[in-house]
């Protein structure tokens, strides 16, 4: 049976019902009494019975009260009493052994069915029925009806009805009030492609019901009200599926034209039953709006219409999506329990986390997502819980979503420059006051890996290149000792209006940023500060070149007119005072890592001491290695390229923090 499907539901309901029936039957045998309270009990007197395909159909008269309390004269058939058709299952009928003139008490829950073409209501689900014996009549009845057989009558359906030659209604009316169910026999002909205006359609509050009732075709007429928990962008690729197993980013073949990036705006929504759904909306032309959408839409309620089901995904297949759903579970306010009537006592927060989620998308044509931007933030909304980096590093778990506010110190492209922009992977080195203010034990700076599946707005990319930035990382993933930004993580320049600080110290950094010093625990792809003594110089790596003092262009050319002067193509002018950039590898002896050879590539904006050193080395050309050796090198900020053990070598590169 399909998990979560109607069949499974009915099985469960059926089991419950059967248990209730056997319990009730048992109770009936032990005490048979007249019901004192008329809470939903239907009292009927059977007029005639026949059987149709294992169902016993009894034409009855509904009685106001039990005839036991009436005198025999009064207990005559009163023409004014309403006529009902009561159905009994074979089992119930065998139990009752009903005859005409019998009075039956039908206990709830029973159901009443009003058919469109008939004016006699039908009573069903009559499992809890009990016959009332009228002692005066019982002996007489025994004699007269002892050998009466059941009348079996076949209902003859006219062929006109069978071939649907009658003019029948297309619409389905459904009202449920208590135990009554009103419905019409429903025939869907070719005319079910009618477009109903949205204004007339009812607003539903259950995603599951909408999905079940309308199926994959989509729902055109109905709307569902949900609240938006998260807004993010997903890269839109044909056949893209969010497989992020083991934190390996999804890599696709390069797309020729990747500018502008092809992304879709997505919403993670939740209904009042606590069920989640991911709604994939239109493609965004520019990713700069994502911050706007987040600010305007998160936490607000909206009406969805015109959606269709793209996929029904489960926990095992969409780890990324479910890690986000888990971070929003359990719900902060009680949610309704499906299948129960709208009783406020039937709300709970004690539910297991969801195991499946529908991914919806817009049908071709109009998108109907009406967000109540003016309305207040919903109670169900769970803003991202912001923690200090120190707390996040201590989280015990894998694939946990976390949000934090940090200063980006340095960024490094992990993929080559030639890789298209939508497949680049970046390493960001971040810190906050919780890491900076600690003495030892945890790193001062943490590396955050931004995979290609995490969509960055142009605004963020430019801001990060320009200088050190305070960035809000929303719903990044923590696992295996690393923080990574994957799909559904959003980087924002402004702190969202609503977020629970959870006691984190979100103050700005005071004073200069400090990096961890190079030591035995330093690993590759990290940043550190080092100090040491020059023990060697790798002359083969020495390289210098002039750059334009105006624009920084490193590819200057010789002036055609005067070959002594340099010319910059980008500025279209002669460069009179070029800035010299140099690069060299030096070997240092660092007390903190005395076993290893520390090799540092030093280049462009350099620390003063080395600049002087290299000027001596490269231009004056009157150096002696001995004069260079032994020079103390102060605290250099470096990026660690590699740490190898055979030979013991640490290769670093001097960097400039943003």
């Amino acid at each position: 049976l399909c998990r979560g499907g109607l069949a499974e539901r009915l099985c469960r309901l059926q089991n419950r019902e059967r248990a209730a029936i056997s319990f009730w039957r048992h109770q009936c045998i032990s005490d048979d009494k007249v019901p004192s309270d008329k809470s939903g009990v239907l009292i009927v007197k059977i007029l005639e019975i026949f059987e149709e395909c294992t169902i016993q159909v009894a034409t009855c008269q509904q009685l106001e009260q039990s005839p036991v309390s009436l005198s025999p004269e009064d207990a005559l058939i009163n023409a004014e009493e309403p006529i009902l058709k009561v159905l009994f299952t074979r089992e119930t009928a065998a139990h009752l052994k009903s005859r005409p003139q019998d009075v039956i008490h039908i206990y709830p829950p029973w159901q009443k069915l009003l058919l469109q073409n008939a004016d006699v209501p039908v009573i069903m689900n009559t499992y809890f029925s009990q016959k009332v014996l009228l002692s005066e009549h019982s002996e007489a009845r025994e004699k007269t009806y002892g050998l009466t057989k059941m009348l079996i009558r076949k209902n003859i359906i006219s062929l006109a009805q069978t071939f649907r030659l009658d003019d029948l209604d297309d619409t389905l009316h459904q009202e449920s009030s208590g135990n009554q169910v009103t419905c019409a026999p429903q025939i869907h002909n070719n005319s079910d492609s009618k477009q109903h205006p949205l204004a007339l359609s009812a607003v539903n509050d259950s995603l599951l019901e909408m999905v079940e009732s309308q199926g994959a075709v989509g729902w055109r007429e109905m709307q569902v009200r949900v609240i938006i928990q998260r807004v993010y962008c997903l890269p839109a690729r044909e056949g893209y599926r969010s497989h992020t197993q083991g934190n390996k980013p999804f890599c696709a073949t390069p797309i020729a034209n990747s500018n502008p990036p092809n992304v879709r705006l997505c919403l993670l929504v939740q209904d009042t039953y606590g069920m989640f759904s991911e709604v994939q909306l239109q493609s965004l032309s520019s990713t700069d709006d994502i911050e706007q959408y987040c600010r305007r839409w998160e936490g607000k309620s909206c009406c969805l219409a015109g959606m269709k089901i793209l996929q029904r995904t489960t926990r095992g297949r969409a780890l990324g999506l479910f890690s986000l759903i888990d971070s929003l579970w359990p719900p902060v306010v009680p949610v309704k329990v499906p299948g129960q009537s709208q009783d406020s006592e039937m709300m709970t927060t004690n539910l297991p986390p969801p195991s499946f989620c529908y991914i919806l998308t817009v049908q071709s044509g109009e998108i109907h997502v009406e967000v109540d931007e003016e309305e207040q933030i919903s109670n169900l909304y769970q803003p991202p819980a912001v923690h200090g980096l120190k707390e996040i590093l201590r989280i015990d778990g894998c694939n946990e979503r976390c949000s934090f506010w940090a200063q980006v110190l340095y960024q490094r492209l992990k993929t080559k420059h030639s890789v298209p922009i939508d497949q680049r992977e970046i390493l960001l080195f971040v810190t906050d006051s919780t890491l900076q203010n600690v003495v030892h034990g945890i790193p001062k700076v943490v590396a955050v890996s931004v995979t290609a599946s995490c969509v960055l707005s142009m605004e963020i990319i430019e801001a990060l290149s320009a200088g050190s930035q305070l960035v809000f990382f929303k719903d990044a993933l923590w696992g295996n000792g690393r923080i990574i930004c994957v799909e559904r993580t959003v980087l924002l320049l402004q702190k969202p209006l609503l977020c629970s600080a959870a006691g984190a110290d979100l103050s700005e950094l005071t004073g200069p940023v400090r990096l961890d010093e190079l030591d035995s625990t330093t690993q590759a792809n990290s940043v550190c500060a080092l100090r040491g003594t020059v023990v060697g110089v790798n002359e083969s790596t020495a390289f210098s070149w002039p750059t334009c003092n105006r624009c920084g262009n490193g590819k200057l050319e010789l002036c055609p007119q005067d070959r002594e002067l340099l010319y910059c193509n980008q500025c279209s002018e002669v460069v009179t005072t070029p800035v010299l950039k140099m690069q060299l590898e030096v070997f240092l002896s660092c007390p903190s890592r005395s076993q290893d050879t520390v090799k540092v590539k030093v280049w462009h904006e350099m620390s003063i001491t080395l600049f002087v050193l290299l000027t001596m080395l490269l231009f004056l050309q009157t150096y002696e290695v001995q004069s260079v050796l032994g020079k103390e090198v102060g605290l250099l900020n470096c990026f660690v390229h590699s740490v190898t053990s055979h030979p013991n070598c640490v290769a670093l590169e001097e960097i400039v923090l943003l």
């Binding site: 499907g5 009915l10 294992t54 829950p109 069903m124 429903q186 869907h188 199926g215």
Partner: protein
């Protein structure tokens, strides 16, 4: 779908209810349509076999229908027919358009099986 409705289905249709709902859950019902407007329904049974249910009258090509409904008159319908009605009501039918010839072939093929 309220619980009462599901239990109501169970009451009336008995053992057919749960299998029929399962067929609906799995979207097993296809409405086959030809250009002239003729329709019929094909239901993918649990055994993997495809059964045809007529839209113009109460009939299914499955053996259960022949036995329980026609012969013994024990049941009103079979699970496939119920699945067709439920799928219609819920809009969960898959749609398939075929040519006149193809539709005719489907109908004739059923005849051959019985004959």
């Amino acid at each position: 779908v309220p619980d009462e409705l599901l239990l109501g289905l169970k009451f009336i249709f008995g053992p057919c209810a749960v299998p029929a709902l399962d067929l609906v859950d799995q979207r097993s019902v296809t409405r086959v349509r030809s250009p002239s407007g003729r329709t019929l329904y094909q239901v993918l049974g649990s055994s993997g076999k495809l059964y045809t249910c007529y839209s113009s009258c109460h009939f299914c090509t499955c053996p259960a229908f022949g036995f329980s409904v026609l012969q013994k008159n024990e049941s009103l319908l079979c699970k496939h027919i119920l699945a067709v009605y439920l799928s219609q009501a819920m809009g969960a039918c898959q749609e398939l358009s075929v040519s006149e010839e193809q539709l005719t072939n489907i109908l004739l093929a059923e005849e051959e099986d019985e004959g």
